[in-house]
């Protein structure tokens, strides 16, 4: 597959994956490996002062192969998102950040005003800024104009598995953007991943659809193939599958 740039780095894999919700670290590492992902998201959380034994998370993690993408999940205001991003950079050594400023607990939809402000601050601070945003072409344009390194519009609410609810908005976003567009959140199946690629996504970011599957490692492989295979463009009328020549009686 062709390569593409995010910030000052070049990538080939067009499937990005999360690292949460796995039953254990072994399954997580196997699934990440099977996905072929080169970008892996992590969350930043208080360490357990009484049981600081989270090292299994990083064991077997190929930091050479995978760029760590800390997120600001759980942040509902600009200040906590910016501080979480800075803590994430310090903890992981990665200056990539998936900026989330959440505006509503039930839908986890982003707060557009807060997101724009947080991105402005983090861009000034030298981050490679990848905002999780609503599938709104106007917001995506504003994020691009700020200097964000990609936009990551949702397909559906986080963890919902509802698939691509608004392909037409996503298509507009992809047509107008001169920065990478990564479809993030809500993708449920490998066919959704294929649709996202057909629409013109640079990449697809997934977490729950893989980690929550009956067999996460197999689903990771399926998602990888869905992204790599793509699908045919949709059209209104038929194209014959069988030869047009040699039909009897013609």
């Amino acid at each position: 597959m062709s390569s593409y740039e995010i910030g000052d780095r070049s990538f080939t894999s067009r499937l990005w994956v999360g690292s949460g919700k796995y039953s254990d670290f072994h399954v997580m590492h196997e699934a990440i490996e099977a996905s072929g992902a080169e970008i892996v998201t992590v969350a930043i959380r208080r360490t357990d002062l009484n049981d600081d034994t989270k090292d299994g998370f990083w064991a077997n993690f190929d930091r050479e192969k995978c760029t760590i993408l800390p997120n600001t999940a759980g942040c509902f205001d600009v200040k906590s998102a910016v501080t979480t991003a800075r803590l994430g950079r310090e903890a992981t050594g990665s200056d990539f950040v998936k900026v989330e400023v959440i505006g509503d607990e039930k839908t986890l939809f982003p707060d557009n005003e807060g997101l724009l402000e947080a991105c402005r601050v983090l861009l000034d601070d030298g981050f490679t800024v990848l905002p999780y945003c609503i599938d709104d072409p106007v917001v995506c344009k504003k994020l691009e104009d700020l200097g964000c390194h990609a936009v990551m519009p949702l397909a559906a609410p986080i963890g919902s598995g509802m698939g691509i609810r608004n392909p037409y908005n996503l298509k507009i976003i992809m047509e107008q953007s001169s920065i990478p567009v990564v479809v993030d959140a809500g993708v449920g199946t490998a066919s959704d991943a294929a649709v996202a690629m057909e629409l013109g996504s640079t990449a697809v970011l997934m977490q729950t659809a893989i980690a929550g599957a009956g067999d996460p490692v197999k689903m990771a492989r399926a998602m990888r193939l869905g992204v790599e295979a793509g699908r045919i463009p949709m059209k209104l009328y038929a194209t014959a599958s069988s030869p047009l020549e040699g039909v009897i009686g013609s």
Binding site: G20, I44, A73
Partner: protein
């Protein structure tokens, strides 16, 4: 003096530094990040930054997330 560490009240000696706290908690510094009153403390500054009464300290790590 009293400080808050990850939301819990803790008692530390007057003049205690970030390095002292991490040491007393037995935390592995690798992979950690620390903020005092929401300002990040760089790893190289752990031994230099001293707490004041009532400081709010956050000690975080990367965990699985999406």
């Amino acid at each position: 003096m009293k400080i808050q560490v990850n939301g819990e009240a803790r008692e530390v000696e007057s003049g205690a530094t970030v390095a002292d706290l991490l040491d007393s908690l037995g935390l592995e510094v690798n992979g950690l990040a620390v903020a005092v009153n929401m300002d990040i403390v760089r790893r190289g500054d752990y031994a230099a930054v001293k707490f004041s009464e009532g400081d709010e300290i956050e000690i975080v790590r990367a965990v699985g997330g999406g």
